[in-house]
Amino acid sequence: MELNQIMFFLLAGLILIFSLLTITSRMILRAAIYLLIVLVATSGLYFMLNFEFIAAIQLTLYAGGIVVLIIFSILLTSHISHKFEQPAVANAFAGILTGILGCGVALWSIMKFPFTPTTQPALEVNMKQIGMHLLNTGNYGYALPFEVISVLLLAAMIAAIVIAKKGN
């Protein structure tokens, strides 16, 4: 077994175990910490793919931003020592059945599908390439989605302030 295979299976095992713990843990703050571990392991997968920029985005935005936001709201709205009750049997059964059935269908189709890569030479991914594509208005340019996302972020920020402020 080579080193990169060992690394991949380590990261995959971390992701699967801790995402299961995220949805089964009965202490809410622990669930948030398990989610943080899942996100950091995912950024490790991106580093394995040699996508440093996306891995850095994953670390700073997901692990740094969203998890901190979630932990902050947990501290505002829940008691830390409170333990959840076990889910109702019918509920748990429905969830697990949906998960297993959907997982089976998706894995079956993944295994059957013949993935054929293109024969064109690989593009070297670096910051310059990403920036040129992201702000390009020509073919394969992503200037319009970039602007739309910035408007969306502004709208979401204003909406969050308006919703969460006290009184009218």
Partner: protein, 105 residues
């Protein structure tokens, strides 16, 4: 592509993660844990985009941009959702889904 790891390995990991997220979405009662399940789902989709970009279309950068857009939408969704949760907590004093069954108007 990466030596010794076929594309199916990555896809299996992200598929299982996706359905764990869906399972948590159905089982959980607290709104914040439901939000965490949604983050799991979005994260697994991100893995798929980047792996397809790396293995099948290495001459393009589409997967990167889709992944960035998904991350931005996840961030704005989390911000609005948490503002809503805090507002609900002020009104109902808890954020369990069973207790919240009426809207303002």
């Amino acid at each position: 592509m990466i030596q010794g790891i076929p594309i199916q390995c990555f896809l299996i990991v992200s598929t299982i993660m996706f359905f764990i997220g869906i399972c948590g979405f159905i089982i959980r009662h607290n709104l914040i844990t439901i939000l965490m399940s949604v983050e799991l789902i979005l994260n697994s989709v991100n893995i798929n985009f980047l792996v397809f970009n790396k293995y099948l279309f290495p001459h393009q950068l589409q997967g990167h941009f889709f992944a960035m857009i998904v991350v931005a939408i996840a961030a704005s969704e989390a911000a609005v959702a948490i503002a809503l949760f805090i507002n609900m907590y002020r009104k109902f004093n808890n954020i369990e889904v069973e207790n919240i069954n009426e809207m303002k108007y």
